[in-house]
């Protein structure tokens, strides 16, 4: 894995920039939220960029109106504000009407560690997964980030993309294809970790260590949380002895829940351990890494939980 030269958040917006350049019907709405690469976007495409102010409900409804008239709309702010604050607008205005609007939520899990529960994105997978028409993408590197923007651009319905921040090592390359919704990154005979988003990196590191300790551990990057790729998942499950799900999201309703529902619905009986954030609001003070360690979502904690 090589370290990316680009901040994953900029990878998203650079791709939207490219789309906006090629297609004047692309428009980006933000609810008083910035990013380094947005400065250029705003300057070069002023009529395709609107800051609606701190008004997420209205941002979603305006996006719906623009999409009803044929525009390709991207909307952007922090995860809890763009999913929970305006959930009903997302449900009715985007999902019920099945409109091609891309919801870009920044700050998965404990990204905004010190900012507290108001800014933590720990319940969004659970609630967004309950919306029938939506596609949910949770990219794990900058290459997939750019690809996910193109996937959502081509989608005829709504897409929710979780956006991370910072320079993150690259897992994929320009030839990678993201149509499958998941990628088998590592084979393992004893155990398969199904991870999503940034946790895929933790899974790869933990798998390496577990392999060193004699436990053959595979890793799957579940970057499309909805819809699940049934065929591929069944194949992975059939080739596994044990499953672990790993996510930076509440234990309630995240990918652990999605996989356990999948196992039940498909009559699969296999040990499954769900590793996630606990069902509690996080009032601990600390940055993302220290909070992940606090909740045993660092490499050591993950290994300990798996071996227990």
């Amino acid at each position: 894995m090589t370290n990316s030269n680009i901040d994953i958040r900029d990878a998203f917006f650079d791709e939207i920039y490219n789309l906006a350049k090629a297609d004047p019907r692309v428009i980006l709405l933000v609810a008083d939220m910035g990013a380094f690469s947005l400065v250029k976007f705003k300057k070069d495409f002023p009529s395709q960029f609107i800051n609606v102010g701190i008004a997420e409900q209205n941002m979603v409804s305006v996006a719906a109106g623009l999409a009803l008239a044929g525009r390709k709309v991207f909307i952007y702010t922090i995860i809890p504000f763009i999913t929970q604050r305006c959930y009903e607008q997302v449900k009715i205005d985007l999902c019920s009407m099945n409109l091609p609007v891309t919801i870009l939520g920044v700050g998965p899990g404990l990204t905004y560690g010190n900012d507290g529960p108001t800014h933590h994105g720990t319940q969004d997978i659970a609630i967004m997964r309950a919306l029938p028409e939506i596609t949910i993408l949770n990219p794990s590197d900058a290459i997939m980030a750019a690809a996910s923007i193109n996937i959502s651009y081509k989608n005829s319905g709504p897409t929710y993309i979780r956006i991370d921040k910072g320079k993150i090592p690259e897992i994929y390359n320009q030839e990678s294809d993201f149509q499958d919704g998941l990628a088998e990154l590592k084979d393992g005979g004893d155990l398969t970790i199904i991870a999503t988003g940034i946790m895929t990196h933790q899974a790869l590191k933990a798998a390496q260590e577990l392999n060193n300790r004699g436990l053959s551990t595979g890793v799957v990057d579940l970057y499309r949380i909805k819809p699940l790729n049934k065929e591929k998942l069944l194949k992975i499950i059939d080739n596994s002895k044990r499953l672990v799900t790993l996510e930076e999201n509440s234990i309630v309703g995240g990918i652990g829940s999605a996989i356990s529902e999948f196992l039940t619905d498909n009559g699969k009986i296999i040990p499954l351990k769900r590793i996630a954030l606990p069902d509690t609001h996080c009032f601990e003070s600390g940055d993302r890494n220290s909070l992940l360690a606090f909740y045993n979502l660092n490499i050591d904690g993950i290994i300990k939980t798996i071996l227990n």
Partner: protein
């Protein structure tokens, strides 16, 4: 303004109310009070040469957009859309019944409906998006959004209000069917409603207050919506009576959602026939 036109619109609005009465009684459910309070407004919009539309071509790109943000008044709009040919009138007999496209609240599957509604406080923002699109594409179409005054308790209405005036959406026309009632109570028992018109002005809108049952007042206001020179969006505050047209329903909170029994149906029909 021709008296003949006024006479025709009055007859049309009365006919809409009669059909709504039949539909809701037939279905055994529905929102009759709010449908009656906005019937005259809808008649002017659709039969008073205000809205531009092509019933045979509902997706005509240059059509005006009308959003019934107070979606519970759907029955009145369904009557009009079927009358204009968007779908067969026979469908009205199945209102809210199994396999009927006409649900209690309108949605995109009904020809002529521009947006799903029913949850209040969404329409003005969606309308602002449609109006913004017209500005960006230099299209001439207008966007009309009909809300209730009870609906204006929703904060999202005011988010949209601030946005629309900032974007200078003078092609967006809001209408408040101000009947003074919400679902279970008089609005003034719930929230402060004073200076309602001035509030819109403060939010950067042109406003005009009219008697929402007077065609003499409604027609000139709506007929000028296309020739306005202002940069501001326009809010038409239509003072109305919930349950308008049937004396025992007028201004009564219980007629938000009540269904007439046979005796009430006959009485209501008689009153509407007399109009």
């Amino acid at each position: 303004m021709g008296t003949e036109k006024i006479h025709k619109l009055r007859e049309k609005a009365n006919w809409i109310r009669q059909r709504v009465l039949e539909m809701i009684t037939n279905a055994g459910k529905g929102h009759i009070g709010g449908a009656f309070s906005c019937a005259d407004i809808l008649a002017v919009l659709y039969y008073g040469d205000v809205l531009r539309f092509q019933a045979a071509n509902p997706d005509w790109v240059d059509r005006d957009r009308f959003i019934l943000s107070k979606g519970h008044s759907s029955a009145a709009l369904y009557v009009i859309l079927s009358d204009l040919g968007y779908f067969p009138s026979a469908e009205l007999n199945n209102f809210q019944k199994e396999n009927c496209i006409l649900g209690a609240h309108p949605g995109l599957k009904v020809p002529g409906i521009e947006a799903d509604s029913g949850s209040l406080g969404h329409g003005l923002g969606i309308g602002a998006g449609l109006a913004l699109n017209a500005k960006l594409d230099k299209k001439e179409y207008l966007t009309f959004v009909l809300m209730g005054d009870g609906e204006c308790c929703e904060g999202s209405v005011w988010e949209a209000a601030m946005f629309a005036s900032r974007q200078k959406l003078n092609n967006l026309i809001g209408i408040v069917d101000k009947n003074g009632l919400c679902s279970t109570d008089f609005l003034e028992n719930c929230v402060k409603m004073e200076s309602f018109e001035q509030r819109w002005e403060t939010f950067g809108w042109d406003t005009v207050a009219v008697d929402g049952h007077s065609f003499e007042e409604l027609i000139p206001v709506f007929s000028q919506t296309r020739s306005r020179e202002s940069e501001k969006p326009l809010m038409i505050i239509a003072n109305t009576t919930k349950g308008k047209g049937v004396s025992f329903m007028e201004g009564k909170p219980e007629w938000h959602h009540s269904v007439p029994n046979q005796e009430q149906f006959e009485l209501a029909k008689k009153e509407l026939n007399r109009e």
